[in-house]
Symmetry: C2
Subunit: 149 residues, 2 copies
DNA sequence: CTTTTTAGTTAAGCGGGCTGAAATATATAT
DNA sequence: ATATATATTTCAGCCCGCTTAACTAAAAAG
């Protein structure tokens, strides 16, 4: 049943399975770590795109500056984020994950990962190498693609 | 740069890019359709796993029966879910997506899909077929794997 | 130097998700 | 037939995210 399917269909099926799994997993993980999804998303964003200012948060999540400020404040108090003055612009703040924040997100990634790993471990060596190559292709394409936006 | 990477690393990189993208996309879509994430997740669950009773919702999302009932009620009033009596057990309810609910979720899938499609369209024919095959392998593995849990 | 714009904070208030407790109705067990 | 268990609903109350409006402070423009 690993016959060549049209790529459109392969994508659709894969995304269906994978997205449900990973969304559910993340939400569960966020909850179990005592964070709301909005809070958790901010940590993910900082991990993914690195340090940024408050205004970036409000733009990226499409919320007001006030909402961003309040959300971030909770994360600061929980010890997951550090909020320092931007040396280049004393109005602005620089947000970055603390070690504890980093650890938390990495744990989440690790869990999500474990599922995929278990999955992949059921494959033959040949299948593994095919999958590995294909994911490499996709990742590189995605990175180039992101840059263009 | 599509040299053979260890599969562990390919997975990690791919998931990093992909998960951020798709999570963000889903949340944005949910918000723009006027639904909260919990509400939206219920619709996704119904689309993914098909019709079910109220108790399944509360178990699956790890919320009380009361919370499930309230969430579902809003979705019923919004016209996305139909809530009928289960003919086999008159205490229970059978929840299923209405046409409008189905359409909504499919739109979301379509959007998520479009990104992947654009991505894949940057690939050569040869790369496309490799990716297609690999995703087929993964999807099948995932489906077998799910069944066992 | 004054004015205006930009970055962020604070507070009041709305609506939403969630829980616990109480209630209803049906199914199951004895 | 009665007692118990199960599936769901309703309600009061809490916390949280979000918005608007008012405020502070610093940068940029004139």
């Amino acid at each position: 049943m690993t016959n060549p399917l049209p790529i459109y269909q392969s994508l659709r099926e894969w995304m269906d399975v994978f997205m449900h799994r990973s969304m559910r997993g993340w939400m569960h993980f966020a909850r179990s770590s005592g964070l709301s999804m909005p809070q958790f998303s901010i940590l993910m964003q900082l991990q993914h795109r690195g340090s940024c200012g408050m205004s970036v948060i409000s733009e990226r999540f499409d919320i007001t500056a006030a909402a961003a400020s309040q959300l971030v404040d909770k994360l600061v108090q929980a010890g997951y984020i550090e909020r320092d003055e931007d040396p280049n612009d004393r109005r602005a703040k620089l947000l970055r994950l603390t070690e504890s924040g980093e650890t938390l997100i990495n744990q989440g990634i690790e869990e999500r990962h474990r599922w995929m790993n278990d999955l992949v471990n059921h494959l033959s060596e040949k299948e593994k190498s095919k999958v590995s190559e294909a994911l490499g292709i996709l990742t590189e394409a995605a990175q180039q693609f992101e840059d263009k936006q």
